[in-house]
């Protein structure tokens, strides 16, 4: 694999480029193993887990988190964070619904939904690059604004306009037997993996988070890179919002609420370092898959609902801790 040659060394890694390549692969491999072990464990106790219907259902359920995690992991690799993904998602779905409600066609409605993402990304990006706000604060602000706008528009009541059947396909259709949102996820995963590994833009994203000063001195336009990743993150989230609306045909006032935590957790489980420079798109998607698998397992296994969140948190901590320990033992540092 040639990615080691064209990826700058991230901060905190003193070893050779080859080590980085192995490390990144090892991290994804860890999550994959965790997925398989967890699946095996759940199957021991219930016959209903390993069925095509259930696995496809689970994939569809975590696909939106995973799609948003693709954008998030790019932001995290630059050393930033995007807390506004849930608001961008919810507001995009709502704006799409409003367009249908006003009698616009589906092209306009979808475009308007995606435009919400573009605006979110532009505002986040400008706050962070032009004004210089810390990403946490900038996106916390836009999270809150988006949430407020949703309540102002909906007054707390879901919006359920009538939509053409063809629009519902986006969220409810199948490419037998795979649900369409999962297909979209896989396409985005492949495209953005290739971008991250094989394009100059991808290398600049790693460089910006690895050591921003060094990257800037060697000619990387770090501000422009940051603006681009926030734009991408919001755009991808708004796409998730349009898909969610197509799936449920109901724009909920609380749609996307709190989903940023799942999305960030997915990226972290997938090996992304919150201090920047490290992470991968496939890892983030597998992280989302692990969270989705746990959520499905606890219901199938009839585990007390009050314990579910604690179990999910515990599994996340164990998964990430094992990953860190394993890498330390292997002499990564």
């Amino acid at each position: 694999m040639s990615l080691a040659d064209n990826t700058p060394a991230p901060r905190g890694l003193s070893g050779s480029m080859g080590k980085l390549a192995k490390l990144r692969h090892a991290r994804e491999f860890n999550v994959l193993i965790a997925l398989v072990i967890m699946g095996g464990a759940i199957s021991l106790f219930t016959p209903y887990f390993l069925t095509v219907d259930n696995l496809m259902g689970v994939s569809r359920a975590f696909s939106l988190t995973a799609i948003m995690a693709i954008g998030m992991v790019m932001v995290i690799i630059t050393g930033g964070i995007d807390l506004s993904v849930g608001s961008a998602m919810g507001l995009a779905g709502l704006v799409t619904a409003l367009c249908f409600d006003a009698g616009f066609g589906q092209t306009t409605a979808v475009a308007a939904g995606l435009a919400v993402g573009a605006v979110f990304g532009l505002v986040n990006g400008m706050l962070i690059t032009a004004i210089g706000l810390p990403p946490f604060i900038a996106t916390l602000g836009t999270l809150s604004i988006g949430r407020g706008l949703m309540y102002m528009i909906t007054h707390g009541v879901p919006l359920t306009p009538s939509t053409p059947d063809s629009f519902a396909l986006l969220g409810q259709g199948y490419v037998v037997p795979v649900p369409l949102p999962v297909v979209i996820l896989l396409v985005l995963m492949v495209v953005f993996s290739l971008i991250m590994i094989h394009t100059r833009f991808g290398r600049h994203i790693y460089a910006t988070g690895g050591n921003e000063n060094a990257a800037r001195l060697s000619g990387v336009k770090t501000q422009r890179v940051k603006l681009a990743v926030y734009m991408l993150s919001s755009l991808i989230s708004s796409l998730a919002g349009v898909i969610a609306f197509s799936r449920y045909l109901s724009a909920e006032p609380a749609s996307g609420f709190g989903s940023e935590l799942d999305v960030i957790a997915a990226a972290a489980i997938g090996g992304a370092s919150l201090s920047g420079g490290i992470g991968s798109v496939t890892g983030a998607v597998m992280g989302a898959a692990l969270i989705g698998e746990i959520a499905n397992g606890v219901v199938l296994l009839n585990i007390n609902t009050y314990a579910q969140q604690a179990i999910t948190g515990g599994v996340i901590l164990i998964a990430v801790s094992l990953d860190v320990l394993r890498n330390r033992l292997k002499g990564g540092r």
């Binding site: 219930t46 209903y48 069925t51 219907d53 259930n54 259902g57 689970v58 359920a61 939106l64 007054h155 707390g156 009541v157 879901p158 359920t160 969610a244 799936r247 449920y248 109901s250 909920e252 609380a254 749609s255 609420f257 709190g258 959520a295 499905n296 219901v299 199938l300 296994l301 009839n302 609902t305 009050y306 579910q308």
Partner: protein, 310 residues
Amino acid sequence: MKTFAKLAGAALVLGTLMSTTAVYAKDIVVALVPKVAVPFFDDVNNGGKAEAEKLGVKYQWVVPANTQGATQVKVIEDLIARHVDGIGISVNEPKSVEGVIKQAMKAGIKVVTFDSDSANSGRSMYIGTVNKQAGVTMGEAMAKAVGGKGEVAIVTGQLGASNLNERIDGVKEALAKYPDIKIVATEGTEDDLAKAVSVTEALLRGHPNLAGIFGISQVGGPAVAKVLGEEEFAKHKGQLKVLAFDDLPDTIKGVKDGFIDGIMVQRPITMGKLAVEHLVAQIKGEETASKDIDTGVTVVTKDNLGSYTK
């Protein structure tokens, strides 16, 4: 000036002669204070306004800007300063308004709570849904729907919400009388439709013989209807009895489409009407010993979908 005073005096005398109670009623001002601006409270307002017109009293609808306890405290302080005669309030935060409600009562203003109570505030009465009782109604409706036996599951919203937990207590109390009905799962959804849909799907896969689902919070009905509309779960339609809470558009559609068997609908219009009625009676001194009123829930099914009242 003198002429004006004379005219006013004459009008007053005339008014008194015409009807003694009407003069008193015209001077009465009652104010209703909701939690925040949502459609549920629009219904309360309509009920309250209509009753005030009927009784001939002045009526104010004062909506707090946000759901913080402090905001309602300020609203009540303003109403005390304006010397209104009665206040009905749906409390956002029970503890924070205790002091100011006591202060209002001390100033001679009658106070009732509706929809959401502050039990230790000294208010004269509470008018609203007793959630536990609504749960009992729901549990009994389910027992009837499933014929007294089978596995049932509960899909709720936020795990910590006390009104939802009271409804669940009521459901359990009602089902305790039916030993052949077993509650096999209770699942939280954080009131998120997406989460509720995937939880319901997993429930149906994990319990293929499920006979009934309780939608305890407002996402339950739309979520179960959505799932039963999917091809994989179509076989459950009609087989699976579904009871939901609150008449949101998607829940009503679920009843029309045959996915949902019944909705527990609260009675906000009745709450507004009763709040004004009892405040005025207390102000006139006609009602002295007030008792809490459970406005109950209407069970809305396909049969009374077009005709139920709130």
